[in-house]
């Protein structure tokens, strides 16, 4: 490792990788990769989806053997680790998906399978001793819950602390946290970052994998960036910053980082107008909203504020309890998604894998599904027409896949989302509703999806984008509507865009507007 310029290593590295290479059929997952981890060091590991992070984790966990290269743990060189060697040398993982028994209590989870037993043939668990063993572990992770609390009653961050305590219980010397914060709210994230600092203070090394770069900025001593299976660069403590990490991750500078670009034309007439809509989640809160052509309307608000429910009613999935909808000035009665689709109102749903695409079908079959009669002659599917549409969309949207016959289940999140967009783009949308369109998608694909949304708006489509990502809402929208507990609490025009204003509206307070005649209702 030549590019590090931290203070002279006083201690030998706990772990070092040298020229590690791993290939899968057709793919080089990791190539000439070298890094080292010193005791008590926090390493931020970043990279886009598919950059090789999971392969690296599998190698460290002993799940796969590298094709070549050396792994040195505690001064002993190996060609590859076994699972036993990995655990035995004190490498512990905390995965994004937690492996806890929710029906058992904290202590039982931490020492599962290794419970202290009482003397006697019945092998009864020695509860008192178990508690004594768990207490110091919980203290080390700064837990604010007791050893006999059922795991089901804990918050996500607390459950992660249990996982870390479990790692400590096997005398871990390196804890690898794989996207631990991706599902945590802000306050909980803080606690977790404190735990990482605590581990560091004890001399335990940490590899911290996260897509949230500002968290990496805060805790990492060094950042290792992976790109296309190779080491894209290493940033030392004082060189860690957001832009540099992004540049290394995608190999170029994103000029319009996380922005869709400015609108090139003024918003047009009202395309879809919803008047006093009531949803079954908030039956006593009518919502009125207007979507204009050639405009991206951001819809912000806290989780549970009724945004998704509004989208589902507009798309005909949920029943509209009251209110009226007009499309191009004409009354429209949408009672099913099929009605919405027939009228050019499309939804890119929040849950891509469950409702956005059919994972078992091919790209081509997914794209043609909503418009199958147009790809058929006398009710028989024309595979030729279907493939032609799919090829065109694959090219237009830059869907990365071996062919349009590839199962969508094998694609990355970003490419899956492009397939969802492709099926609607193939059909001339009038109104496009996107619910959390970039959730779980890496930065490169994100920018492309923003570009597509802007292109849609430029083509005269009314775009409604629901998003919980503040930067995204402010960077992409032309106007921002904010919901609070089932009601529209206000609409912000461009000059009033700020995180503060969106947050104020989201909690039901008045925003600080430049002009008195703001859009607050």
């Amino acid at each position: 490792m030549t590019s590090t310029d931290t203070t002279q290593p006083i201690t030998a590295p706990f772990l070092s990788l040298d020229a590690v290479r791993k290939t899968y059929p057709g793919v080089v997952a990791l190539d000439r990769f070298s890094m080292e981890v010193r005791p008590g060091e926090v390493i931020g590991l970043v990279g886009e989806n598919g950059a090789g992070k999971s392969t690296l984790m599998k190698i460290l966990g002993g799940v796969t053997r590298p094709d070549s290269g050396t792994i040195t743990v505690d001064g002993v060189a190996h060609d590859g680790l076994t699972v036993e060697q990995s655990i035995g040398s004190g490498i512990a993982f905390v995965h994004q998906e937690l492996n806890l028994f929710e029906n058992l209590d904290v202590a039982a989870n931490i020492f599962f399978g290794r419970e202290p037993l009482r003397a006697g043939p019945l092998r009864l668990v020695d509860r008192a001793r178990l508690r004594d063993m768990v207490a110091p572990l919980l203290k080390r992770v700064g837990a604010n819950f007791s050893a006999d609390a059922p795991v089901a009653s804990l918050s996500l961050a607390q459950q992660q602390m249990v996982e870390i305590a479990k790692a400590l219980s096997i005398k871990a010397r390196l804890v690898i946290l794989d996207e631990p914060t991706s599902s945590l709210p802000i306050a909980e994230t803080e606690k977790l970052l404190d735990v990482i600092k605590g581990l560091k203070a004890e001399g335990i090394s940490v590899i911290f994998i996260s897509h949230r770069l500002h968290e990496i900025e805060r805790v990492a001593d060094r950042v290792v960036v992976l790109r296309d299976g190779t080491l894209a660069g290493t940033l030392a403590k004082d060189g860690i910053n957001h832009d540099e990490m992004v540049r290394l991750m995608i190999g170029r500078m994103l000029k319009e980082r996380e922005k869709a670009g400015e609108a090139t034309r003024a918003p047009g007439s009202v395309a879809l107008s919803a008047e006093a809509i009531r949803t079954s989640t908030y039956p006593d809160r009518p919502v009125s909203i207007e979507l204009r052509r050639a405009e991206i309307l951001g819809l912000a608000g806290l989780v549970g504020s009724g945004r998704t429910e509004l989208a589902r009613v507009l798309f005909g999935i949920d029943e509209r309890l009251a209110g009226s909808v007009t499309l191009d000035g004409k009354p429209l009665n949408v009672t099913s998604a099929a009605d919405a689709v027939a009228n050019g109102i499309f939804l890119v749903p929040e849950d891509r894998k469950l409702t956005g695409i059919l994972l078992d079908l091919s790209i081509a079959q997914n794209i043609s599904l909503p418009n199958l009669p147009a790809h058929a002659r006398r009710s028989l599917v024309s595979t030729g027409a279907e493939l032609a549409t799919a090829e065109k969309q694959k090219k237009n949207l830059g869907i990365k896949a071996p062919s349009v016959l590839t199962r969508t289940g094998t694609l990355s999140g970003g490419n899956q989302q492009k397939v969802v967009l492709a099926k609607w783009l193939a059909m001339n949308p009038k109104v496009m509703i996107l619910d959390e369109p970039t959730r779980g998608i890496d930065i490169g694909a994100k920018a492309e999806i923003y570009g597509l949304m802007r292109a849609l708006a430029d083509a005269g489509v009314a775009v409604l984008m629901i998003s919980s990502d503040m930067e995204e809402v402010i960077g992409v929208s032309d106007r921002i509507a904010v919901m609070h507990e089932g009601q529209l609490s206000g609409i912000l025009d461009k000059q009033d865009f700020s995180q503060e204003n969106v947050l104020l509206l989201a909690v039901g307070k008045k925003p600080k507007l430049l002009q008195a005649a703001g859009g607050v209702q």
Partner: protein, 331 residues
């Protein structure tokens, strides 16, 4: 033809060869004609079931429906002396209506297919028994319907006409299931109904249509069964036939979760089931063991299929690793 179907076909041929070796009468013209007639009757029924299973549903009432519709058909032409083509149309329509009601209860009122059709199973059996006052429906002495009898129980070029009907139905339904827009919708709904709905498919209508198809094909096979037995005691006629149909679909590669299976597979599944029945008779196995043999073979078949899948996945992995190792030095 998929590998699964091919495997099933080979199994059918192997079992056939073994049975022939023990008892050459297996290949006699009379035995083949009899067996192919039964394959046709159960095949039509099983194809209907397959359309429901592909949506992730199930239709348990078909056995009772065969009793009820068969009883009604014989009653219409033998007792009420309706023209048989009219009776035929009425029975088919009844099958369609019953299928529609099932589909409607399942999609609109959100009842579970198992529950709806289980109630159907009980209701239709009860109605059939009540209709004949627990007696037997049959033809009077000397009653003849030459055209109908030719179409249902007759033969052309040595083939039972029922078997020819099965071939025609199988081809038509193959096109519907594997080539039509409707067939694609069926697979999509079976794989993920929610996602299909979000793609703008009117999933309710498609599912109802599947139950209507099942109802119509069940009614058709009810007429064939009625003309085959020529006398129906509704208490037992058609009993367990729903399970034959489900077993044929499962053997043919259909998943009860929906979204998987081929038409050729369900026909082959029926052939295998009938071959097993035939085997029990020809090899002198006590007929009381009939169900046990069938259950055993289905269990083994499903097990082998599943283990084969596991084996192939493992082999693929080993091969991939070997390629890797071979390719690594060429860096």
């Amino acid at each position: 033809m998929s590998k699964k179907d091919l495997g099933l076909l080979i199994l059918i041929l192997v079992v056939g060869a073994v049975v022939t070796a023990i008892n050459p009468r297996f290949l006699s013209a009379i035995n083949l004609a009899n067996t192919s007639n039964l394959v046709a009757l159960f095949g039509i029924l099983s194809i209907g079931q397959a359309f429901v299973i592909i949506t992730g549903g199930i239709e348990l009432s078909v056995g009772s429906l065969i009793a009820l519709l068969g009883t009604l058909f014989i009653d219409f032409i033998a007792v009420r002396e309706l023209d048989w083509p009219l009776a035929f149309v009425v029975i088919i329509m009844l099958g369609a209506v019953i299928g529609f009601v099932h589909g409607w209860l399942i999609t609109r009122l959100k009842l579970q297919p198992f529950v709806v059709t289980l109630c159907g199973l009980l209701i239709y059996r009860g109605v059939a028994r009540f209709y004949t006052a627990d007696g037997t429906a049959g033809f009077a002495f000397g009653q003849n319907f030459p055209t109908l009898e030719f179409l249902t129980a007759g033969r052309s070029y040595g083939l039972p006409n029922s078997f020819i009907a099965l071939i025609v139905i199988a081809i038509v339904m193959w096109v519907v299931l594997h080539r039509s827009v409707f067939g694609r919708y069926l697979y999509a709904i079976g794989k993920n109904e929610e996602a299909a709905k979000y793609s703008g498919i009117r999933t309710g209508r498609v599912i109802i249509a599947a139950y209507v198809i099942c109802g119509v094909l069940t009614a058709l096979s009810a007429i064939y069964f009625a003309m085959y037995t020529r006398s129906i005691s509704p208490a037992s006629h058609g009993q367990f036939y729903e399970l034959y149909a489900i077993a044929a679909a499962v053997l043919g590669g259909f998943s009860l979760r929906g979204g998987e299976g081929s038409l050729f597979g369900v026909v082959l599944g029926t052939v295998l089931l009938q071959e097993l029945q035939n085997l029990v008779n020809l090899l002198g196995i006590p007929s009381s063991l009939n169900f046990a043999v069938m259950g055993g073979v289905i269990l083994i078949g499903v097990l082998v299929d599943q283990q084969w899948g596991v084996f192939r996945a493992r082999r693929r992995m080993i091969e991939a690793t070997r390629r890797n190792v071979a390719g690594a030095p060429a860096e």
